[in-house]
Symmetry: C2
Subunit: 523 residues, 2 copies
Amino acid sequence: MTVCGRFPFCNSYKWFGETVLELGMNKPGGGGLRNYNVPNLPVVISRQSRVALPQQVGDELKRLILEGYFRPGSVLPSSRALCDALKVGRSTIIEAFEQLKSEGYLVASAGSATRVSENIPSAMPEAPLPDTHELRLNSLSDYANRVHKEALLYERTVEPEIPFYCWRIARDATPLREFKQLMSRFSLSAEQEMLLDYQEDPLGHRPLRDAISKYLEKSKGIKADPQQILIVTGLPQALNLISRIHLERGDLAVVEEPCYPPVRKGFESEGASTVSLRVDAEGLTVDNLLRAPSLRVRLVYLTPTHQFPTGSRLSLARRLNLLTWAGTSGAFIVEDEHDSEFTYGANPMPALKALDKLDSVIYIGNFAKVMFPSLSVAYMVLPRDLTGVYAKVRQYGSDAVPLPIQCALADFIQRGLLRKHIRRMQGIYEARRDVLLASLSWYFGDKVQIRGEHAGLHLYVRFETTLSDAEIVDRALQAGVGITPIAPYYAGLAPQSEFVLGFADLETAEIREGIRRLAEIIL
Amino acid sequence: MTVCGRFPFCNSYKWFGETVLELGMNKPGGGGLRNYNVPNLPVVISRQSRVALPQQVGDELKRLILEGYFRPGSVLPSSRALCDALKVGRSTIIEAFEQLKSEGYLVASAGSATRVSENIPSAMPEAPLPDTHELRLNSLSDYANRVHKEALLYERTVEPEIPFYCWRIARDATPLREFKQLMSRFSLSAEQEMLLDYQEDPLGHRPLRDAISKYLEKSKGIKADPQQILIVTGLPQALNLISRIHLERGDLAVVEEPCYPPVRKGFESEGASTVSLRVDAEGLTVDNLLRAPSLRVRLVYLTPTHQFPTGSRLSLARRLNLLTWAGTSGAFIVEDEHDSEFTYGANPMPALKALDKLDSVIYIGNFAKVMFPSLSVAYMVLPRDLTGVYAKVRQYGSDAVPLPIQCALADFIQRGLLRKHIRRMQGIYEARRDVLLASLSWYFGDKVQIRGEHAGLHLYVRFETTLSDAEIVDRALQAGVGITPIAPYYAGLAPQSEFVLGFADLETAEIREGIRRLAEIIL
């Protein structure tokens, strides 16, 4: 149906192949019975439309009522008059009238007359008053305004030829085929009922939690009862639950400096204040925290295995000091292991959660890097005494991961496919990392400092250069190379010349060529 | 590996089929080199374990360091002495030492001596001090404490023979088979790259938004540009986004009385205050809102098509008044259409969003009832001027729906399977509703008032009885019938004798028998 009552130039025309009967334009002044210019009602009916005629007539009459053409309480033209005007059968008009009566637009009145309901407001505004429009945009929360000023995190721009992007995984080697098969095959025997009902276990699908529990013990030495494991949709949901459960307005949360900005935003969105503690070659400078016991810190968020973005690894001494401090202060430690499945060379450091005798650590694991990011599944290992409150806050205030995905992922882990995939990717990623290290050393010599080569899918580099970060990014892009400066990850004053170089999604030849081009620009 | 250093009664025993060598228990007093009772180190090594020997030795040495047995800075027994004591080869000890050095527990010192790092805290607490434990549980947020006092929303209890539960769908007629096929088949051509990267479009998978846009226009007369549609993980995520974007501490949000409790909790979790407005046979009593313009209401949440839980339908007059009020006050209306795909008899009332010329309505649609609840996909139709801020707040602060699910659902809708499924379920549900209405009338006569029979998957009933709600629920359960009282859905004083009767998951014979048993109990 094409409504064109507001365009005075359309009289009878073709519109997307439909012939449209145009029935006149004049808006009448009054609202009484005989004031309507029935033969010239501003109504458009199309016989070519797939919408049934009574529906079209009903919709048009509604429009006239809502626009104030037919006023509340006024008597409508008779069905016979409308038949003539609209060139439709009487049954069409009667059907439209019945529909509008059932919806409350029309009421039958004395005799056969049909009136517009008295309860319709006499004129609906057509567009918000300009004041109101401003008013309602200004009424957004402070948090919304702050976030609105930021750039989107991942924006599709022109893809450079050689993107050293740290959020990439090796897209040519994902386990997608196997995973898709499992999605169509996930067993329904015991799960069927549950699958079709609401997910009654707020911690998540039990077989998936069992599989993660075994995986954590074998791969990371973390002993987690499945009842301590909570399946979440990703890092944001985990941070949101943590914030809601632990932080009141004005509470302090410690984060790393530099740090992934949504983490800071996550804590701040609940009204907490964040304190950013510097990261050095040994990770978060925990000593600063221990030296200021008067700060009432509720929790400390960190990425100890491969700090994001600087790549440093928290030393054992700091790990133990942090755990002791948490045990005595009653604070919680949030350990985010975003890409620690992949480690190279040196023995991996034990996870904080593996050392956590006092149950102070809230561990966040993630399948984004190890499977693929858009899988949207992560998990938390909770202190035992907090599982109850987490389960309830999850159920009352946030959503579960779709059960078909949880079933397929449980299957994937149980069949040993996850360990197999990690082993395979370990080899691929290590080769790419080696080439990146060798290329940096070959082309940059002592003009580059490197950190974070022991784990993960990116390196931290600091170039010796007089160029600004913006100049480097621009010239690199012109040369077809995408790199990301670290400065935006700092809350405070940011040093220049620091970058993250992701190597996961690049062939070794691309890596070599990319670093060669960067050296040409920077040196 | 079995650690039993703390149990003085175990000397040499079988433990899960392993032979365990027990090497003595005495804790030494001092920390110097020759003070350790090396032949009696409290260490357990199992040759039957699947854990490699160097790893076992390393883990045990770590434990002794962390427990303070080997003190920071002290010299370790020689590798030769440890070989003898632990009955393992020298290479095993050396490998364990190397591992512990790389992790920072040990340092090589002058000559061949190996020392415990000075940086290890001298004794890690074994269990939180009792004070601390209390302290950290008391430190949870007010919100967490409030939610923790509530019961779980869906708890697996003994299933009654005839459950009239309103959260059920017809579990014998879900489109699971078709959906599973589509999950294994979703096309990867254009989407492959995106699927494997982070989901760069924060509004959600474009083909799914296109499909929902077409579906909304055809089924509900809602004209929504795909760029106004945001895919969310469910009602909680939608409410969370709304709260974060529109509500500051102390702001007012209007909800229905009675209302689904997580909705109230959702708004309150961001610090807003909720005002509960009574619902009558015509839905939310909007007039009360219009009469109190001094209240600075930021938003009004309602379920106009089939109010949850009372089933009433918001009248047209109230719809139009509410829209006009929102347009002039700058407030937003949150329209939650949880089960409005299924309507019976009368013409459905137009959605508020379909009447929304001022773009004041935030519409929430959900696939929980129409597909299956554990699918965990819902969507929002946003006012045009707010899509930007919603996209960013989504991306910074919450998670996307797993892309495989979005792809499969887009496919499901595009192939016409959703419309086909709805048509089929419409027939099934209408038959069940008819039997429930007839049974209530047959067995209860004028001792029951019914509401909400025009739509959805449950009826509201009010019995004429002198029994309390608790007595009715208990006796019904004893008779194998599960029903849910409405009282817990009220924020204020709750009337008695009101119940919701879900009919979706019951055969017609079960419905008849269930109502017969209820009549026996209640009349």
